[in-house]
Symmetry: C2
Subunit: 359 residues, 2 copies
């Protein structure tokens, strides 16, 4: 384990739980000590046996040089990294003329809102996709070793080429991050009264705008090509909306807006409908429709807990739960998703117990 932050220490914890001996190394001695204390392994020593697999979990901008150093230091070991961009690591290794038979790239799609070894958990990767990038010149054994690592940690291995991976994360992770950031950045200029009108939609869209700027600067710079291509396309779509709104603004009223203008807005909104429908649902692709039961929850200690206990006692399987809070008022709304066939019974049970319910 080279690098004992959140990801590195979580890999160490997971492997230790499987009885695999883990050697920990990190430029920060505090990080190594913390990782050891949470049970991620033992600090590496000069008289350790040679490792068979080296996992590099360093910041994206130093990954390539650390991978190269580990390949040289451990001539029999397979080396992988867990950086969230893959193309530029590979390009740097190739540019340095490194033999890549023992290198396989990884990207476990896992993370937490907290960072550092103290936030590490052995289950971090359970059920998550773990992208495996064979540069093309890796030995079959090396690919298998990294694949086994993913499986041992409970992740789902997904083989991808580096460029394919980088385009994918640009679309599903890096562009959404930037969209959240740009919308949130505009709020700096908003009046306080405007922010009091904020609803759940704004909170959802901007939640990830709270991400770490240093980490994300490094991720975006590392995937600059793919993110740039996506953003240029998005700007084209944005320009269509801006042009349509400029025309609508010039019209004296809705009935004098050229029909093509409204059609352009409607087309964009429909394209959004079509895109969001492609995101796989809970069960991996098959989006299931649940019935939504909305319950008014007073903001007093224990009231949400007692609602949830009641739902549990009713033996209704809660498929999803979203809480809405209203600014400045002692009440919230719990939107409970259940199987359609359970909704009537849940509503009946809740109403009988005095909860205000809406469907």
């Amino acid at each position: 384990m080279v690098g004992t932050g959140l990801l590195g220490a979580s890999v160490g914890l997971g492997l230790t739980a499987h009885g695999v001996p883990v050697q920990l190394a990190d430029p920060s001695r505090t990080a190594v000590a913390l990782a050891r204390d949470v049970g991620a392994g033992q600090p590496a020593r000069d008289d350790d046996p040679e490792p068979t697999l080296v996992v590099v979990a360093a910041p994206p901008d130093v990954i390539a040089q650390v991978v190269a150093a580990e390949l040289a230091a451990h001539p029999a070991a397979v080396v992988t990294d867990v950086a969230s961009v893959k193309g530029h690591v590979l390009a740097e290794l190739r540019a340095a003329g490194i033999d890549l038979r023992r290198y396989v790239g990884s990207h476990p799609m896992a993370g937490r809102e907290r960072s550092g070894p103290s936030a590490a958990v052995p289950d971090l990767f359970v059920g998550r996709p773990w992208v495996i990038v064979d540069p093309g010149d890796a030995d079959a054994d090396a690919v298998l070793a990294v694949r086994s690592l993913a499986v041992d940690l409970g992740a789902v291995p997904v083989a991808m080429a580096a460029a394919e991976h980088d385009a994918a994360v640009a679309a599903v992770s890096h562009v959404p991050q930037l969209a959240a950031t740009l919308v949130a950045a505009r709020l700096r200029a908003a009046a306080p009264a405007a922010l009091d009108l904020a609803g759940q939609g704004l909170r959802d869209v901007t939640r990830i705008a709270a991400s770490d700027p240093a980490l994300w600067t490094s991720i975006l710079a590392g995937n600059a090509g793919a993110v740039h291509r996506e953003l240029v396309e998005l700007r084209g779509d944005l320009d269509v909306v801006i042009d349509a709104l400029a025309q609508a603004e010039r019209a004296s009223g809705p009935e004098t807006v050229a029909p093509g203008v409204l059609a352009a807005l409607a087309r964009t909104l429909s394209a959004g409908n079509a895109g969001v429908a492609r995101i796989p649902g809970k069960h991996g692709g098959s989006q299931r429709t649940y019935a939504l039961v909305s319950v008014l929850v007073p903001d007093t200690p224990g009231s949400l807990a007692s609602l949830l206990a009641l739902i549990g006692d009713a033996e209704v399987n809660l498929e999803d739960l979203a809480l809405e809070h209203a600014a400045g008022r002692p009440v919230g709304i719990a939107n409970v998703s259940v199987l359609p066939e359970s909704a009537d019974r849940l509503e009946q049970v809740l109403t009988e117990h005095g909860w205000k319910v809406a469907r």
Copy 2:
């Protein structure tokens, strides 16, 4: 009540619950009958007594003409509307030379994912902001009547000028809607394998992209000026990011990227941090920090319910709950937010009962 869709019928239901007689009118006779059946009031008849307050809940593009007609038809009544844009309604009424002493605009910040009278609930407005727009020439009695309507329905009245309201909803509602739409629209071109890497961040950012295109076309066209201004600013910020990424792409590696380029990305990401921090938290402005306890939940019937029942039994007050689902795997993660002082006890109770917990 003129217009008996979701909002109109919900107003009717709430007033009926207060013992106020409600007359229902809508161009759709089915909508009137449905609204009556859910208890929102009685269909208007020619021999009804004159109403004292007329609430217009029509689609945004016909609001002004309906308001004008109601002012003329009921010469003693106060008339309000609940459209989500206010400036263009007012401009149209002024352009038509209408006397506005009995007109006050409203915008209750409430809605549901479902629409129509059958989705109406009397508690729809409880705890929500209700913007009240006095055009400047309204009688004090008229403003008070509309304010009382909001209070009677449990909402929090917020006085704003029309332009101030329209700028506010552009920033906190219309621009976030378009950002979600544009990110989601790009997903149409993504490879299926890319979508399998989607995480909670993408789901949050794009959730509202599933909104009704016809309704939103009308909202955006009605607030074209304010939304246009916001989007042009956002495009300027986007261009900074696009330029920085283009420069980063041309550099041969992270160390050859000009320092100013990375600083531009970091500044944008930090601006997003600052913006999202301005969104009021649950208790109206004071953002409280909760401790996050993550629990692994097998996707089998009853498992989430039994987790929630256990949390309820432990008498820990659950402040928020977010579920993460992993595509194609029979396991999910429940992120439970509790007061920091309750986190240790919750973790202990859950662990004792065999749940896998991470902090």
